[in-house]
């Protein structure tokens, strides 16, 4: 329903209003796109459920979404630069079990570094495979996803790694600073750094150029390959960090096939936010709004006691609407 409002607003205006003013308005409306449905949903949930707009519930949502938000923020860069990374779920799982494995045996600091480092390395391999060997990113990262999940099972040997006694490791995500957990603080820091990288630096500008028109960017002096490798490295590292945070958050880790599916949740969040699947357009703040929008829907289903069976259907519909909007706006342009 909320998307309907948006479509009408964004796409009927130019005909009714016309002129450059109308055009400017379309651009502006499209660029705030996701905020409108997000705010509407937020208000509706606040009005219909008394437990929604409470500090505990909202912080809980952020805590649960911290991993997804970090990965999705980094994934936004990959998409904008013209790639796609389907291995983030597997990396997230691998980083989780790796850090758990070493947390049981060595110091928590080393465990954290190894978890993130694993993500960094896999991201680097992704980048090299897709740019140097020119293997399609979709296929390359899908293959990598299988490989990495397999490695996760090797690390755990099929067991659940329990860290309940390793509270110093858990402290990474569970310490409260100003009544907010460190998982959230870490997420905010990572998202802000990634967002600033994209929106204020030359590197960020080159990402837009590489995804918008790779050949033109190359002829303009942009090292497109290097930029794309960098986005995969950032994506892998972010997935590693997210895996470590979640392991510390729940104090256990196991190799789970569900982890690979996280890549799709992340992708859904990015695209619902309005970042183009075709590259060259998008923003990190949009991704944050997109991921949280999806999370709010899940939370709403829970609080309003709707049949959760319909939650996935809603998600799928949303995703189609988001991609459709993108396609429609491109056709207009």
């Amino acid at each position: 329903m909320s998307i309907d409002v948006d479509v009408r607003r964004v796409f009927r205006l130019p005909e009714a209003e016309g002129g450059l003013l109308g055009l400017a308005r379309v651009i502006r409306l499209r660029s705030v796109g996701i905020l409108v449905p997000f705010l509407i949903l937020f208000v509706v949930l606040s009005l219909t459920s008394s437990s929604f707009a409470t500090k505990a519930n909202l912080l809980n949502i952020l805590d649960q979404q911290s991993a997804t938000l970090i990965i999705a923020a980094a994934g936004t860069l990959v998409l904008i630069a013209g790639g796609i990374d389907l291995s983030v779920g597997a990396i997230y799982g691998f980083a989780g079990v790796t850090s758990a494995h070493f947390a049981l045996q060595t110091s928590p600091v080393l465990a954290i570094l190894l978890g993130i480092g694993a993500g960094f390395l896999i991201g680097l391999v992704n980048g090299i495979v897709t740019t140097v060997f020119r293997i399609n990113a979709l296929i390359a990262t899908l293959a990598m996803s299988f490989i990495v999940s397999g490695c996760s099972s090797l690390v755990t040997k099929g067991n659940l790694l329990v860290l309940f006694e390793k509270t110093d490791f858990g402290a990474v995500a569970r310490t409260e600073i100003l009544t907010v957990k460190t998982s959230i603080w870490l997420m905010v820091a990572a998202v802000v750094v990634i967002g600033l990288l994209l929106s204020t630096t030359t590197t960020g500008r080159y990402m837009y150029a590489a995804g918008g028109n790779a050949e033109a960017a190359r002829l303009a002096g942009v090292r497109v390959g290097a930029i794309r490798v960098l986005t995969f490295v950032i994506s892998g590292t972010a997935a590693g960090l997210a895996g470590v945070i979640d392991t510390a958050r729940v104090l256990s880790a196991q190799a789970s096939p569900n982890d690979t599916a996280l890549a799709f949740t992340v992708l859904a969040g990015i695209v619902v936010g309005g970042t183009s699947i075709l590259g060259g357009e998008g923003a990190v703040w949009r991704t944050v709004a997109g991921v949280l929008f999806i999370a709010l829907i899940g939370n709403g289903y829970l609080l309003l006691e709707f049949d959760p069976l319909y939650e996935q259907i809603t998600m799928g519909g949303l995703l189609l609407a988001a991609v459709g909007l993108d396609a429609l706006s491109r056709r207009r342009a």
Partner: protein, 515 residues
């Protein structure tokens, strides 16, 4: 499949085949067409000319059903029509042929021609009947095309023939051609002209939209000049000249076609030296470029001019040979290095390899110099905006706002954004590959002035163009390429059209004798 029979004469010959009455169309607040009234005679070639944005393509698209008019009426063969899609137009015998042919590269030529109307037997395409129908069609159209080749292997000019055949196979009586020769070389253009004449002679009506005034004058029976969405005049082509058309298009007389040439100083140093350069499509090419000199690089399409340019710039791999810039800087390794050394290139296609669509004019202009406009990796927006605004204004880019996406600009203004990007690099050598392709007369002159003024400031300019006039009008010296080699160098009195053409066309026997 009747297709190419004589025209039916359901009405008197005096009734125009197509009539437009008070047709209007606006996009947003822009009035693209303003009360356009036009009559197109049956069996004639009717040309539409005008600057970019004058509304000629919009008009063509309305006739062919790709756009619908906001107001006005359209009469086809005396009956009022209103097409909601190209398909509806096709059903009434109106077809469109675009600059970039709409083909399915994987299918064969014959399959492309009969796409969606394949001769069937029990639901399956009958290949035998398809081939027979194709043979009949090409014979009627008067040109050859390999029916069994996959269409993706055809050259652009041949792909357009596929579209022409497709139109004929649907029995189209009116064919709208939008810049059909823009992407073609000289001999292919000649061939297409033949086809257009044959079509008109067989009773088809052609609406020809073209930037090339000489083409218009040699092909068209009638010319309509549009300016700012209005019809300025409709006249018999025989009564017009290029300058009369330009004057009507611009609304003022055009004083000079080319800015005056200022030859470089006699002792001007060599700024770019290319020696025995081999690269994909280029064989042992050599030439020098001096400061303040404009050197035209001429040759047929496929002679290796763009390939040479790309290799010199470092966008294509260099197999052997040397590219040296003043001071001994070795370029030709990567675009980044070339740009840093002051060697810039305006690529052949601004759409495919020039601009980042979706980003603003400012961002497009600053892209190559972004590092200099940032500190510690962070873009200094104000510095960027001011620098970009400076060069965009100097290049005469006009548009609603420099912060708006470049998509919204006209072709000429888009090209000027690319010039602005080059200017911001502080070039010492500039390679301009077809810098005026697809831009209107006014923008063309601005681009000429840009290149000559850069040369006057001591920049070496290598100009690639398929328009000989342009080469001759701007260059101090011409290098001719054929089959990947630099085969002739012409200067002074030897620099004329026939000398260039004979060097470009020379047969293989004499080509072999050239070192």
């Amino acid at each position: 499949m009747a297709g190419v029979g004589p025209p039916e004469t359901s009405r008197g010959a005096s009734t125009p085949y197509l009539e437009l009455l008070d047709v209007a169309k606006h996009f947003g607040g822009v009035q693209a067409l303003d009360h356009v009234t036009l009559a197109v005679e049956r069996g004639s070639v009717h040309a539409l000319v005008g600057e970019n944005g004058a509304g000629k393509s919009t008009l063509g698209r309305i006739v062919a059903g790709a756009l619908s008019a906001d107001a006005g009426r359209m009469l086809l063969d005396g009956a009022e029509v209103s097409f909601r899609s190209p398909r509806e137009a096709l059903l009434r015998g109106v077809a469109a042929i675009s600059q970039e042919a709409a083909i399915v590269p994987q299918l064969t030529v014959a399959e492309n021609v009969f796409l969606r109307v394949e001769p069937r037997r029990a639901g399956f395409v009958s290949r035998r009947r398809l081939n027979r129908a194709f043979a009949a069609l090409t014979a009627a159209a008067g040109f050859e095309l390999p029916g069994n080749l996959s269409a993706g292997q055809l050259r652009t000019s041949e792909q357009q023939k596929v579209e022409i055949l497709r139109a004929l196979s649907r029995d189209a009586q009116l064919i709208v051609m939008d810049e059909p020769t823009a992407a073609l070389g000289a001999n292919e253009t000649q061939h297409l002209h033949e086809i257009v004449r044959n079509l008109a002679a067989s009773g088809k009506t052609i609406i020809l939209i073209s930037h090339f005034l000489s083409e218009v004058l040699s092909l068209a029976d009638t010319v309509t000049v549009l300016r700012d969405g209005r019809v300025v005049k409709t006249a018999s082509a025989a009564a017009e000249t290029e300058s009369s058309l330009v004057e009507a298009m611009l609304g003022r007389p055009l004083t000079a076609t080319f800015p005056p040439k200022r030859p470089p100083a006699g002792d001007a140093p060599v700024v770019l030296s290319v020696r025995h350069l081999s690269a994909p499509g280029v064989e042992r090419a050599s030439f020098d470029l001096r400061a303040g000199e404009i050197v035209g690089l001429a040759g047929l399409v496929g002679a290796g001019r763009s390939e040479l340019a790309r290799a010199v710039f470092g966008a294509a791999p260099v197999l052997s040979g040397e590219v040296t810039l003043t001071g001994g800087a070795s370029v030709g390794r990567s675009p980044r290095r070339s740009l840093d050394a002051g060697l810039v290139m305006i690529p052949e296609s601004r759409k495919d390899s020039g601009l980042i669509f979706g980003r603003s004019s400012i961002e497009n202009a600053s892209l190559s110099r972004l590092r200099a406009l940032s500190s510690l990796g962070v873009v200094r927006r104000r510095r960027e905006r001011e620098a970009a605004r400076g060069v965009l204004e100097r290049c005469g880019v006009r548009g609603a706002s420099y912060a708006a996406p470049v998509d919204a600009l006209s072709g000429g203004n888009q090209q000027k954004v690319l010039l602005a990007r080059m200017l911001l690099c502080g070039p010492r050598v500039i390679i301009a590959d077809e810098p005026t392709r697809g831009v209107d007369v006014g923008a063309k002159f601005a681009i000429y002035e840009f290149l000559t003024s850069l040369a006057a400031q001591g920049v070496g300019v290598l100009l690639i163009s398929s328009e000989l006039e342009e080469i001759l009008g701007l260059s101090h010296r011409v290098v001719v390429m054929r089959r990947g080699r630099t085969v002739a160098e012409l200067r002074g009195d030897a620099m004329n059209e026939s000398a260039i053409l004979s060097a470009a066309f020379a047969d293989q026997a004499s080509a072999a004798s050239v070192p």
